[in-house]
C-alpha cells in the first residue's frame, strides 16, 4: 500500500468514525444546551440503545432499520420519563444535575450487568463486502451505518431548523427566559430535549452494535470521545460538535495510522488543552 493510498485510507476511516462520534455528541450537547446539565449517563443510554437493537434483531428477528427506529422511540420515551421523574428538580442546577446523572449511570450500568451479564455479545453485520473507491477500501457495513447516521442527523437538523417544536427547543437553548415570555412551555421542552438527547445516544448505540460488540461497558469509550467533541466544538453548539467530530475522527485515524494510537490520544488531548487555552468556549461555542 503506497503512502498516498494509506493517507486516503486513514482519512476515509477518520470520516467514518467522526460521523459516528457526531451522532453521540449531538445528543450530549443537546441535553446540555437545553438543561445546562452534563449528562454523565449518556454512555449508559448508548449502551442501552445497543442492547435494545440487539434484542430486537437477535431475539425478535426484526430487520435492522425498524429495530433502530424502535430503539429511538423507546429511548425518547424513557428519556422523557427519566427527566420528569429524576432530573426535574435539577434543571439548570449543574452540580446536583451532574451528581444525579452519575447516580443514574451507575444504576443503569449495574442493572444491565445483572440483566445481560458481563460477556460481550455480537450482532450480525448489516452488510458484507467492501466498497472500493479507487484503491481505497471501506467495509460495506460501515458505509451502511454511516448512511444511517447521516440520515438520523439530517432528520434531527430538519426537525430543529424547521419544525415549530424544534424552533421552540432552540429558543430554550438560546435564552430560557425570553423563550418563556414568548409563550414556549418549558415544562414540555425539558423532557423533550432530554428525551431526544437520550434517543440520539441510543440510536448511536444501536447503529454501532453491528460494528463493535454489545456489553454493559461499551459506552465509556464513545462517551469520552463525545465529551472531547463537545469541548472542542463548544458546549451546546451543534455545528461546533459537527466540526469537532470530523476533526477528531480524522486526527485520530491519521495519527493512529502513521504514528501510533497512543500518540493519537496524546495529540487529541493536546488539541483540547490548546483549544481551552486559546478559545475556552470551543470552536463555535458562545462565551459564557
Amino acid at each position: 500500500m503506497d503512502l498516498s493510498l494509506l493517507i486516503g485510507q486513514a482519512v476515509v476511516n477518520g470520516l467514518v468514525v467522526g460521523l459516528l462520534y457526531l451522532l453521540m455528541a449531538v445528543g450530549f450537547t443537546l441535553v446540555f444546551g437545553v438543561m445546562r446539565i452534563v449528562n454523565f449517563a449518556h454512555a449508559e443510554f448508548y449502551m442501552l440503545g445497543a442492547f435494545v437493537t440487539f434484542i430486537c434483531v437477535t431475539r425478535f428477528e426484526l430487520p435492522f432499520l425498524p429495530s433502530v427506529a424502535l430503539t429511538l422511540v423507546i429511548a425518547v420515551l424513557v428519556g422523557w420519563v427519566i427527566e420528569w421523574a429524576v432530573l426535574k428538580p435539577f434543571r439548570h442546577d449543574e452540580l446536583n444535575g451532574m451528581i444525579a446523572t452519575i447516580g443514574l449511570a451507575m444504576i443503569l450500568q449495574n442493572g444491565a450487568l445483572m440483566l445481560f451479564g458481563p460477556d460481550p455479545q455480537s450482532m450480525p453485520s448489516v452488510a458484507t463486502g467492501v466498497l472500493r473507491l479507487g484503491d481505497l477500501l471501506v467495509p460495506n457495513s460501515r458505509v451502511y451505518v454511516v448512511l444511517c447516521s447521516a440520515a438520523v442527523l439530517l432528520a434531527m437538523w430538519l426537525f430543529l431548523r424547521y419544525s415549530r417544536t424544534g424552533r421552540a427547543l432552540r429558543a430554550v437553548v438560546q435564552d430560557i427566559e425570553i423563550a418563556q415570555i414568548q409563550g414556549i412551555k418549558a415544562r414540555l421542552i425539558y423532557p423533550l430535549g432530554f428525551g431526544l438527547g437520550v434517543g440520539l445516544a441510543a440510536v448511536a448505540g444501536g447503529l454501532m452494535a453491528p460494528l463493535f460488540s454489545v456489553s454493559p461497558f461499551i459506552g465509556a469509550g464513545p462517551m469520552l470521545k463525545a465529551f472531547i467533541v463537545v469541548i472542542l466544538g463548544g458546549l451546546g453548539s451543534i455545528p461546533g460538535a459537527a466540526l469537532a467530530s470530523l476533526l477528531l475522527g480524522i486526527t485520530e485515524s491519521v495519527a493512529g495510522t502513521f504514528l501510533s494510537t497512543s500518540t493519537a490520544d496524546i495529540l487529541i488531548f493536546a488539541l483540547v488543552i490548546g483549544m481551552l487555552v486559546v478559545r475556552p468556549s470551543g470552536l463555535l461555542g458562545r462565551p459564557e
Binding site: P118, S253, G256, T261
Partner: protein
C-alpha cells in the same frame, strides 16, 4: 434462681453447638468482573465457587480434624493494577484471607505481590508475565499454561502445516502485551517466520481499522491475536475480515474461542487457528463444563477449569498440611502434589528451569481449528511439541 436460668441457657447453647462447630474459610477472588477481561475473571470466580460447592456439599473442608465451610469473596480489579492493590489490601487486611484466586492480568499480579508475599498469602494468578513467578515469590502459583509454554510448539505446528511466513499482530499496550510480543517474536523467528508488523493499543479501544490498515500495508499473510482479551480478539477478527483480509488468523495463547465467535460471528471466524487448554471431549472437562452451565446458565470460559483445579489443589494442600492458617506449610505441600486428577485431566507443577520454582502448571494443551463456530482439535501438544 435469677442467675441459674441464663447460665443454664448458655451452657445448653455451648453444649449443643460444640459437636457441629464449623469455621469459615474465606477464599478471595481478586478478578476482573467488568470491562474487556470480565469473561476471564467471571470464569475464575465461578471456578472457585464451584470448587467451594464441592467441599461444602460434603459438609465442609476437612483439615486437621476441623470442618471448614468455604466462602468465596469476589472483588473486581477492573483489570487495573491500582484497583488490584486496593482490592488486595481489602482482602488481606479487612477480610483476612490467606488464599487468593486471581488476578487476571500481569500488571495487577505484579502490583499486589508486595502485599501478598509479605503477608504469606497464597495467590493463584492467571497473569502471563514471566515476572509473576520466581524464587522471591514463593506464595504465587499459576495453574494455567502461558504463552511462554504454548507459543513455541503451537507456532511451529502452524508455520509448518499452514505455510505462514509474515505475521502481523496487535497487542494491548501493557505488561501482558509487551511480554507476549517478545515471546511471539522469538517463537515465530525460531521457526523461520517473521512477526513483521506489531501494533500496540490501549485496552479500551474498540475501533481497530487504522491499526489493521497499517498491518495490511505490511503485506502479512496471517494475523496473530494472542494477548488480547476475548472480546477485543473478536473485534479485531471481525474488522480484519470486514477490511477484506482473507489470510490466516491465529490465536496462539489463552482460550477465548467462544467469546471470539460470539463477537465476530461464525463467518468471520471460519478457519481460525486457536490455542485451547482443554479437550472438550475429555470426560472430566465435559463434566466440569456441564456443572458450570447448570449453575451459571452459560458456557464456561476456557481458563475456568484450570482455576477449578487450582482451587482444589489448594484444598488438597491444606488437608495434607493439616492447617489452613500456616500458609508456609500449605505451600510446601502444594509444591509436592503430582498427578492431580481434575477437570483438565492429570496435572502437576513444573517451572524450575524457567522460573526457579515449580509453581507453573504442567498440563497438555491443544491446537484447534474453528469450524462453524466450534473448535475442532487438530493437534495435541506438550511443551516439547505438537502432534
Amino acid at each position: 434462681m435469677t442467675l441459674l436460668k441464663p447460665l443454664a441457657l448458655a451452657a445448653l447453647i455451648a453444649f449443643s453447638s460444640a459437636p457441629f462447630a464449623q469455621e469459615t474459610l474465606k477464599i478471595g477472588a481478586l478478578v476482573t468482573l467488568s470491562g474487556a477481561g470480565a469473561a476471564w475473571g467471571t470464569g475464575m470466580q465461578h471456578a472457585a465457587e464451584l470448587a467451594a460447592d464441592d467441599v461444602n456439599a460434603k459438609g465442609g473442608l476437612d483439615v486437621g480434624g476441623k470442618k471448614y465451610k468455604v466462602q468465596v469473596i469476589a472483588y473486581d480489579d477492573k483489570y487495573q493494577a491500582n484497583e488490584a492493590v486496593t482490592v488486595a489490601n481489602r482482602l488481606v487486611y479487612d477480610d483476612k484471607v490467606k488464599y487468593i484466586i486471581g488476578p487476571v492480568g500481569s500488571a495487577p499480579v505484579l502490583a499486589i505481590q508486595p502485599i501478598t508475599e509479605k503477608n504469606q498469602v497464597v495467590v493463584m494468578t492467571l497473569g502471563f508475565t514471566a515476572k509473576a513467578l520466581g524464587t522471591d515469590k514463593l506464595y504465587t502459583f499459576r495453574p494455567n499454561v502461558t504463552t511462554a509454554e504454548v507459543a513455541g510448539p503451537q507456532i511451529e505446528w502452524v508455520v509448518k502445516t499452514r505455510n505462514v511466513k509474515r505475521v502481523g499482530a496487535l497487542f494491548p499496550n501493557d505488561e501482558t502485551g509487551q511480554q507476549i510480543a517478545k515471546d511471539l517474536t522469538t517463537a515465530y523467528g525460531k521457526v523461520g517466520a517473521d512477526l513483521a508488523a506489531k501494533e500496540f493499543f490501549e485496552r479500551d479501544r474498540v475501533d481497530f481499522v487504522p491499526l489493521i490498515t497499517r498491518i495490511l500495508a505490511a503485506k502479512v499473510d496471517a494475523i496473530e491475536l494472542d494477548g488480547n482479551s476475548p472480546s477485543t480478539a473478536g473485534l479485531i477478527t471481525k474488522q480484519a475480515r470486514e477490511l477484506g483480509f482473507t489470510g490466516t488468523i491465529i490465536r496462539t495463547g489463552g482460550p477465548a474461542t467462544q467469546d471470539i465467535v460470539n463477537v465476530a460471528g461464525k463467518q468471520a471466524t471460519e478457519g481460525l487457528l486457536v490455542h485451547t487448554p482443554i479437550d472438550p471431549k475429555l470426560p472430566s472437562t465435559a463434566a466440569y463444563a456441564q456443572a458450570y452451565a447448570a449453575k451459571y446458565k452459560r458456557a464456561m470460559n476456557g481458563f475456568s477449569p484450570a482455576f477449578y483445579d487450582g482451587t482444589h489443589l489448594l484444598f488438597e494442600a491444606m488437608r495434607k498440611a493439616g492447617t489452613v492458617s500456616d500458609t508456609a506449610k500449605v505451600v510446601a505441600e502444594l509444591e509436592k502434589i503430582k498427578g492431580h486428577k481434575g477437570a483438565l485431566g492429570e496435572s502437576s507443577w513444573t517451572g524450575k528451569a524457567a522460573y526457579g520454582v515449580d509453581h507453573q502448571l504442567d498440563a497438555p494443551f491443544y491446537v484447534a481449528e474453528v469450524k462453524d463456530g466450534q473448535e475442532v482439535i487438530r493437534a495435541r501438544c506438550t511443551a516439547s511439541g505438537c502432534k
